[in-house]
Symmetry: C2
Amino acid sequence: MADGRTETGRTKRVLVTGAEGTIGAAVREHLGDRYDLRPLTLTRQAYPSHVANITDLEAILPAFAGIDAVVHLAASPAVETPWEEILPNNLIGTYNVFEAARRAGVETVVFASSNHAIGMYELDGAPDIYELDDQRVYDHTVEVRPDSLYGVSKVYGEALGRYYMERHGLRVFCLRIGAVRAGDDPTAPEVLASSPSLLDLRTEEQRRKRMRAVWLSRRDCAQLIAHCLDADDVRWAVVYGISDNPRQFWDLSHAREVLGYAPEDGAPV
Amino acid sequence: MADGRTETGRTKRVLVTGAEGTIGAAVREHLGDRYDLRPLTLTRQAYPSHVANITDLEAILPAFAGIDAVVHLAASPAVETPWEEILPNNLIGTYNVFEAARRAGVETVVFASSNHAIGMYELDGAPDIYELDDQRVYDHTVEVRPDSLYGVSKVYGEALGRYYMERHGLRVFCLRIGAVRAGDDPTAPEVLASSPSLLDLRTEEQRRKRMRAVWLSRRDCAQLIAHCLDADDVRWAVVYGISDNPRQFWDLSHAREVLGYAPEDGAPV
């Protein structure tokens, strides 16, 4: 992996939308020394940030000046999010971020997509799919099967990224992220309780086995994002983001091969 | 093909959004005897219609009562359409149509998608791809590569359809339609002049060869839609819509196999 610097040796300036969220906090904690991070947040924070709503293109544009890359995390993050919030926060907001990047000449966008873009495979397979001896694996080439309007918004964001990559020359990375949690413990009761309600996992044992498969530690998440930011020879990738878990039904081989992702953590068996 | 009737023998009631457009007119002309067509239009027409804007869910809902199927054609149809129109007419409007169908218990939605959902293949291949001896063919399984925000809106509409099919039980058909033109003559100067500007086809000969490959006659378009409306045993299909043209770089075999589509027309060599 390169070292967080541009071709001219300058530390890369990285705008992070949604920097106040769970993944944003992991990026600030683990990548703050590697990049010149520029948080963009919805409200004022204890650290310096550009305060603006991504639903307002004019308001976010100034934050893109002189930036090398954007990590786009700002969105309604829950799979149960209703249309009234998906529309502004996920559909309009994601367009605004790509468009602002284009207008400002930003080279790279890392888009926080989601496994819910293909969530129906899990929904069909649960709870058997969580067992250690289950063989099903879904990679980046499978047909999209969103399980929710949230999932639809991620398919849309990936298509938007593809368009901006092919027609406007941006480098775009779409990360179908598993489950990143603030406490960073995939066995904690509050983490298990956060399983999407649409999965209808009725026992804590089922929820534990799910988290064992879909967990992404905070530092592995940060590492994956860093690999995208430094993969200067890659123009497009859709990859899954989980740790080196004992059961994996989302493919990691593509992230390993294309980006050099090498997870350091894994959920316990 | 079934005969336009429900299981109980009643003529199917089919709501047609955008009934005043080019394809809407073809549907009214060719399928008016087969179905009980209910036009939904943006403005008052010479024929009876429910006048409402698809951007207003409450305003279109009454038109969905008692309907068996929706043919969703209303949208900004030009590949060059800017974001300011794509957002209301293609993103919000298509959500409203699927959601209204779900709320009203409508069983079937035929969604006018577009070849522009994968338009980058053509853009990369033009003008050689239009030659009769070129072998490239793109089917419904290829990776999406939208060539425009319009194309992105069609990828989104297909993902939305997939979600409503899998989570809410609708039957959904996505038609990646080629070029349907009012005059119905694929060699007419005004038809050739309608080629998308992004293709940058500089000679009339190039534009003629393109239309020779992408043309869909009005009656073939109507037939394809009728096959969707009557395919009671099919729950999901993404197919291309062109006539039996001498050069075809979008696959028709899936439409033939799954829907029984059998085009009667074809552009001249």
